[in-house]
Symmetry: C2
Subunit: 359 residues, 2 copies
């Protein structure tokens, strides 16, 4: 595998002109509006959240998911929490502040692994000194800034990442990392959209991504909308596909990247990286600056969210057994830096062992 | 990985006393009776096949599956075909023979990858010279012999395989390889049952095995029946589990083993073997003599069955998209010999590169 060991400066690339074809998170008329991703691809239903708890619930149940998208949703949820604090009946300013602080903590803890959520919440909160009438508007403005920055970061990553592919490439991707997972055109999927625009994609193989099926439900939907040729494969077919076809690269997103280049992402990413290395297929992680967590030294320190094992049994539909199927369901795993060919960031294309030189 | 490069003779092992707790295939009152595995674990329903075409249909739709089990079912189907040939109205002996030969061909071709089916059909057919009144009984007798030999082969493999484990081991297995997949206690799963009897199993992690879910539907059911502690994982979690826990070994079955030790098995086995090698976890293939195909030089020559991509979309249940999810669905893949620590066979424990010395 050719591994970029030094930062590769890419100053002359044009930023991708692509724009999102759908918004996972929006602020409309004083509400945080979320596309309910649990009902895709069958139904396109929007949730209008006017309370921070509705957003927390949407994050927990995966109605909104994807590290950058839950960061933006979390930032808007802080604005909702401020509004709810200020309108508490018969509460003094101390009680209002207490309510707000408790709300902020619960937003940050809605999901533990993606660093973008805590990063975005802390950032908007740091912009307000005290709770007063202007606070809500200030918070909304800063949340919108995060959203706009994410759109631009996506466009830059799309260009940087597309530069890594030749014409008519076959690529594998994992989970969902497009419009639905971010504020803009996506991380890994943004790269594929831009590469497709440049005629560099002959087919995308999205892995279905058990247990929640983000690949077969969401990435297939985004491929279909954007007319990108695709064929969903079961996660266990990646080895077969790499063994039988010339795969140019694997592109995945990330939920948290440690200082040493280890990357936490949707469970299964680690196995896919091992299989790619065995086949000498380049393995690229695509993530904006907000996903880098330099306070975390290595992947071993990243908290992995455990979700209900019922998510696994759910796929059996009416054929579920009358005994428990199991007791573990890690939502993420950590891919060590030495399995990652390069990290495509909005700053450029970074060697996983050279992160410190960029941040 | 410690790799057995020479045959390991194990003459002093006691054959496992375990017996099947359920029969996937039986001959009862002139019919081939199959447990309908598509309805497990929810319902235990038996199909009574009195025509060879019913058996062919059951093999094609996976009502009966597992390389040794479809071999036995195929052998009984030949007996049904002979009976149907002989009772053809207004047919002369040439027409009856023609019907029989056509039936035999269609039984053999019901599924292409597992060699056991063709092997068993050829073996029973070779026992009969012409079609006459005794033919049906002769065929049934020889099919029953194959079944009985498989039961004994399973018991031997169970003992050989269990000798590879220490007390309280954690193991990973793939697809379903137990009572349901064979005539007896199973191949890889028979090893786990015998090891459990010897207190060598603390937990089994069955991979769910997309797209047909043989692990979560069938292996979980067999673990539950046999009171073996288990926790089903999604196929993509094997890397996470091997990275976080001490896994003693992976045990899988096989559908066809080439002369060079390459083994075709359920799709995903190859990826699992790569992930096991990366973690230095021993990877054992467990298969009876009838699975070895010395006429096939290497795995590259093994025909891989392609099944309908609808099997993949099926797991989305009511949430299926209104566009096609994809166009490939290989049912098997080939694990190269150098990823296999050893093959556990009824003859003993064989190094994958030493098959010629044993057959």
């Amino acid at each position: 595998m050719s591994k970029a060991r030094r930062p590769i400066p890419m100053p002359n690339l044009t930023v991708s002109p692509l724009t999102p074809s759908v918004y996972a998170v929006q602020w409309i008329d004083g509400a945080c509006v979320l596309l309910d991703q649990t009902r895709l691809p069958r139904e396109e239903v929007y949730l209008r959240c006017t309370s921070y708890l509705q957003v927390v619930d949407a994050i927990t149940t995966l109605a909104v998911r994807g590290a950058p998208a839950i960061g933006i949703a979390g930032a808007f949820a802080v604005a909702l929490a401020a509004r709810e604090s200020l309108s508490l009946p018969k509460a003094d300013s101390t009680e209002k502040l207490k309510f707000f602080e408790k709300a902020v903590a619960s937003i940050m803890q809605a999901r533990p692994t993606a660093v973008n959520l805590a990063w975005a919440v802390k950032r908007v909160v740091s912009e307000v000194g005290s709770l007063d009438e202007d606070t809500v508007e200030t918070l909304v403005k800063h949340a919108k800034n995060i959203h706009e920055e994410d759109i631009l970061a996506n466009q830059k990553m799309a260009s940087f990442g597309a530069s890594l592919l030749e014409l008519n490439s076959k690529v594998i991707t994992y989970c969902n990392t497009g419009d639905l997972a971010t504020g803009g055109v996506g991380t890994a999927f943004g790269v594929l959209r831009e590469a497709h625009r440049q005629k560099k994609i002959s087919v995308v193989y999205p892995c279905e991504t058990r247990p929640v099926m983000q690949g077969s439900r969401l990435t297939s939907w985004e491929c279909h909308r954007n007319q990108i040729p695709f064929s969903v494969i079961c996660d266990n077919m990646a080895g077969s596909v790499m063994g039988n076809e010339k795969i140019a690269a694997v592109f995945v997103g990330a939920d948290r990247i440690a200082a040493n280049g280890d990357a936490a992402n949707k469970v299964g990413t680690y196995s896919l990286a091992i299989v790619a290395k065995y086949h000498r297929v380049p393995f690229y992680v695509v993530a904006p600056s907000s996903t880098f967590d330099l306070k975390t030294a290595s992947g071993r320190q990243i908290l992995i969210e455990q979700r209900s094992p019922r998510e696994i049994a759910g796929a059996l539909g009416v054929n579920q057994p009358n005994y428990p199927l199991g007791d573990i369901n890690p939502a993420f795993d950590v891919t060590p830096a030495d399995l990652i060919t390069a990290i495509v960031c909005d700053k450029g294309i970074i060697a996983p062992n050279a992160i410190a030189e960029w941040f």
